[in-house]
């Protein structure tokens, strides 16, 4: 690599890293508890568990009528309206119901209802309690809404630039060294340079994937808006002059209709009229497949909330499929306990890479200034590029 291109890549690596490092440290630190949100929720007593069924029912648990589930939840807040009801893949015994003052209520009330008996289990802590909610908001948008999300997405793009330029710089630094060499004896700075290179190259692919899927996740709201204004709008064309709903059809019957239309699929969530995932006249029943991969993809079935008939059903567009696939790859929640653990260790390794990068820049800056002062006093021009000097130091 020529001295000129080395200087150019060094400049890219330095500035892309410096700009995003503080935010990446925030994301790594807040992401760590989010990896273990289920376990932390359990420890804090904020997670919801379905009560044990009577022994005679355990072998073949009943499924409560969804209209009864909704009625139980609404009995707690008679003046609020249904927003969503959803089920997690690994917990079919619970319906997570949200009620709000209007279909876009950010201060919705979450209610957990037993999916077998239609009894209210509890009103779970909002977003898993104050601590987890704070971690989540800091991680997703820094309490700044859509601009905050998009800003973090831009920082994620800079991270990708920093990673790619870091890989380019790996070659001149490591050409004369064996893989994994950490020169501990020479100087603290050299030791951290080697650790930065080692952990950076070891976490490379993981960090690229988590970074890129994180960037895709920051576009979720935008992609949803695109989908609503194109495909959902097209599906709703016949309803554009329809009168407001007076009477709502049975949700239980609507879901049965959707299940009959999509055999082999289960229900992930149901969006109620007026929410972003439905329309003012429809229930949006979002179905998932039954395989490891297809269980993470949705197929929306729009059901007329007035008469309970199917209005339309179609595959998700590619960009929403990409969003849904990018979510597990970002969260690391799809491979069990070992994957969670490795995600946490890789997260910690990334913190070390970020921290050592910051340290190297700080040391570099101080040394460069000292040398510049010296050179100034000797009136000698600098000949070597900044980073080549440290690479040749041995």
């Amino acid at each position: 690599m020529s001295a000129q291109s080395l200087r150019w890549w060094s400049w890219i690596h330095k500035w892309s890293s410096l700009v995003c490092t503080a935010f990446m440290l925030l994301l790594c630190l807040t992401g760590l508890p989010l990896i273990y949100h289920h376990e932390i929720g359990h420890l804090l007593g904020n997670d919801v568990e379905a009560p044990a069924l009577a022994p005679e029912l355990q072998a073949n648990p009943p499924r409560a009528n969804l209209d009864d589930v909704i009625a139980s939840a609404k009995a707690l807040y008679p003046n609020k309206i249904m927003m969503y009801m959803s089920q997690e893949l690994d917990e079919p015994a619970i319906w997570n119901v949200t009620l709000g003052d209007h279909p876009n209520d950010e201060h919705y009330k979450p209610i957990a209802v037993d999916a077998r008996t239609a009894q209210v289990i509890t009103e779970p802590a909002f977003e898993g309690g104050a601590f987890m909610s704070t971690m989540l908001r800091l991680h997703v948008d820094m309490f700044a809404g859509l601009p905050g999300m998009l800003f973090l997405g831009a920082m994620g793009l800079l991270l990708i630039v920093a990673i790619v330029s870091g890989v380019v710089l790996y070659a001149p630094f490591m050409r004369k060294l064996d893989f994994g060499t950490v020169r501990r004896e020479r100087s603290t700075r050299l030791k951290w340079l080697d650790l930065h290179n080692l952990l950076g190259i070891v976490t490379l692919v993981w960090a690229l994937v988590v970074g890129a899927t994180g960037v895709i996740n920051t576009l979720a709201d935008v992609l949803l808006k695109v989908w609503q204004s194109t495909e959902i709008a097209a599906m709703l064309e016949p309803y554009k002059d329809a009168r407001p709903l007076v009477q709502m059809a049975s949700v239980d019957a609507a879901v049965k209709t959707a299940m009959a239309a999509e055999p082999g699929m289960g229900v992930s969530f149901i969006a109620f009229p007026g929410t972003p995932y439905a329309s003012p006249h429809h229930y949006g029943v979002f179905m998932h497949g039954d395989q490891a991969f297809t269980s993470r993809l949705y197929k929306p079935v729009l059901i007329d909330a007035g008469n309970g008939s199917i209005t339309d059903r179609r595959e998700l567009p590619w960009y929403l499929t990409a969003l849904l696939v990018s979510q597990p790859l970002h969260f690391g929640d799809y491979g069990g306990g070992w994957m969670q653990f490795l995600w946490a260790v890789l997260d910690l390794a990334t913190i070390v890479v970020l921290g050592s990068g910051l340290y190297l820049w700080f040391k570099r800056g101080r040394r460069a200034r000292a040398e510049a002062r010296q050179e100034h006093e000797q009136k000698a021009p600098a000949v070597q590029p900044v980073l080549a000097r440290s690479g040749g130091e041995r």
Binding site: Y170, V182, R184, V202, V205, F293, L342
Partner: protein
């Protein structure tokens, strides 16, 4: 294979490929695929931990 390219990039490429296998296998299957994912993702983590924590013998 002792070329300078392999010496420099051999391990990074191997670890990168293992990471890709680890990330994908759990996505497309459960059970044994989750186990494969744990092993293949575990190798880069173990390699990183080994080289960064080991002390040279004197």
């Amino acid at each position: 294979m002792n070329s300078p390219f392999i010496k420099l990039w051999g391990m990074p490429i191997l670890l990168g490929m293992l990471t890709v296998i680890g990330l994908l296998s759990a996505l497309f299957g459960d059970g044994v695929w989750d186990a494969l994912s744990a092993v293949t993702l575990g190798v880069p983590v173990a390699v990183g931990a080994w080289f960064s924590l080991r002390r040279k013998r004197h």
